[in-house]
């Protein structure tokens, strides 16, 4: 039952672009989307920088053509836009023509509205419609409604920063086991005071542009985004005579078993996830041409992930790697999704993105990320998403099935 998983469509909205083309242009131009926060009234506004999407909620609602009675949280708005782009990109005319599922993911859900209106709810009923939208599953259901996907084929994953990667993995398995013919997979998270304050208290936010894999890194920039892929089975590809954008050939998930939020010193979880993904793909480490790292620019992650890369590839043979989080910020549940899109774009265009803001290599090892845009033939790309709770996931994409 080892059939290939084709990626036939992608959709994305992030701080560096409102669709796939805009995101790609920014990646090529080195245009980061990191700024001071503007849409959330937080006491930390001068102490942090974030990857914020320009559109206001009203503008997003207008793009989706929603009526004023809608109760979409910002997370749901972003998710719907990205999912619709993916389905259009895959040229799906009739979503019901094949057994199609949806696996979305989020960590914020409707928290952005809840934290704004919680006390209002007690005073009057103006905003009570948002209460139902708080739930992590509600975002997914709204996307399903927008796409016309049957409720029984829909679910939500919530495993922190590896959520979207896990959604992609689960979707692939449902196709391989014959449960679905195609599946829309990904995730979404918007900025919220809840996450800003929480990360602030863990003291892992940077007050300036983040510097992944740099010796003097100070922490991460939070970001907001949504991204979805359309995965299709061989049967659909043949019947519709479709061409894939790329293939998902490997995936792996493992638990670090070390700490609720910090990674183990030697990156056990990340090492295992990468090894598992390589095993599923049936390829050797030397076959990987580019690693899109998790690279959040926290003291802990970059050290742990760097060591894991060395364990898997051998220090002199770590492939070209970079983190794109200096462009978009760390978009939490959506990260695995937007970075999957970037990995596919890298394959399509044979390009490796620069790891922005890098100056000084880390003293613990001899690893330097790619710092300038590099045009080179790429056949396989590996992407890491390492989440709180020790949940580590790796995806491997290829030009060939």
């Amino acid at each position: 039952m080892s059939q290939s998983i084709a990626i036939t469509g992608m959709g994305i909205i992030s701080a560096i672009g409102n669709n796939v083309a805009e995101n790609y242009a920014s990646l090529l131009n080195g245009s980061s989307g990191i700024t001071k926060i503007s849409k959330i009234d937080t006491i930390h506004r001068d102490a942090i920088m974030v990857g914020e999407i320009d559109f206001t909620n009203q503008e997003l609602e207008s793009i989706l053509g929603l009526t004023p009675e809608n109760n979409y949280s910002r997370t749901a708005l972003l998710a719907a836009i990205a999912a619709k782009e993916a389905v259009a990109d895959a040229k799906i005319a009739d979503i019901k023509s094949w057994k199609t599922g949806l696996i979305s993911s989020t960590s914020v859900g409707g928290m952005d509205m809840t934290e704004k209106y919680y006390y209002d709810y007690l005073e009057n009923d103006t905003h009570r419609k948002y209460i139902e939208g708080h739930h992590a599953g509600d975002t997914t259901q709204k996307v399903a409604e927008q796409l016309g996907i049957e409720a029984s084929l829909v679910t939500t994953i919530s495993t922190a920063c590896s959520s979207a990667a896990n959604a992609i993995m689960f979707g692939a398995r449902l196709i391989k086991s014959g449960k679905l013919d195609r599946v829309i997979v990904g995730g979404a998270d918007c900025l919220s005071k809840f996450t800003i304050n929480g990360f602030k208290t863990l003291m892992i936010l940077s007050d300036t542009y983040s510097t992944p894999f740099d010796e003097n890194r100070k922490g991460l920039n939070l970001g907001e985004a949504a991204a979805f892929l359309v995965l299709e089975s061989e049967a659909v590809m043949q019947a519709e005579n479709k061409k894939a954008l790329a293939y998902l050939i490997g995936y792996g998930n493992a638990n670090d078993a070390y700490h609720q939020t910090a990674s183990s010193e030697n990156g056990d979880g990340a090492t295992l996830a990468m090894q598992k993904a390589l095993a599923v793909a049936g390829i050797a480490p030397s076959d990987i041409d580019y690693v899109n790292a998790h690279g959040t620019a926290t003291g802990n992650n970059d050290l742990s992930e760097g060591r894991a890369l060395i364990r898997v590839f051998g220090e002199p043979r770590v492939p070209d790697f970079s983190s794109t989080k200096a462009y978009t910020g760390h978009t939490l549940a959506a990260a695995g999704g937007i970075e999957a899109v970037y990995s596919v774009l890298a394959l399509q265009h044979n390009v490796i993105y620069p790891n922005l803001n890098f100056k000084t290599p880390m003293k613990e090892f001899n690893l330097r990320p790619q710092t300038v845009l590099k045009h080179t033939e790429l056949n396989t790309v590996l992407s890491n998403s390492l989440g709180f709770g020790g949940n580590c996931s790796t995806l491997i994409f290829s030009k060939n099935p």
């Binding site: 208290t201 863990l202 003291m203 700490h259 609720q260 939020t261 910090a262």
Partner: protein, 85 residues
């Protein structure tokens, strides 16, 4: 200073959910992290919040905490010198 040390021990036990540990179990000079009480990185962050909340001391860099939180003695000395509440 004796009162402050007693107070710190009580606060630590409560704030960090140290079940089955009493004030008498914590020696003034005993290492709080690693060996000794075996506190971890999240506990360190909680202590930073406690310094702010109860003593008005703001630490910007979590790495400063390492020296300050070595033991009840070092904590008490630091707080006595820097507190604003």
């Amino acid at each position: 200073m004796g009162d402050l040390k007693q107070e710190l021990k009580e606060k630590i036990i409560e704030q960090l959910n140290l079940e089955d540990i009493s004030v008498d179990d914590i020696a003034d000079a005993e290492p709080l992290f690693g060996e000794g009480l075996g506190l971890d990185s999240i506990d360190a962050l909680e202590l930073i919040v406690m310094l702010d909340k109860d003593y008005g001391i703001k630490l910007a860099d979590p790495k400063e905490g390492k020296k300050i939180f070595e033991s009840i003695d070092t904590m008490a000395n630091y707080i006595a010198e820097h507190k604003t509440k």
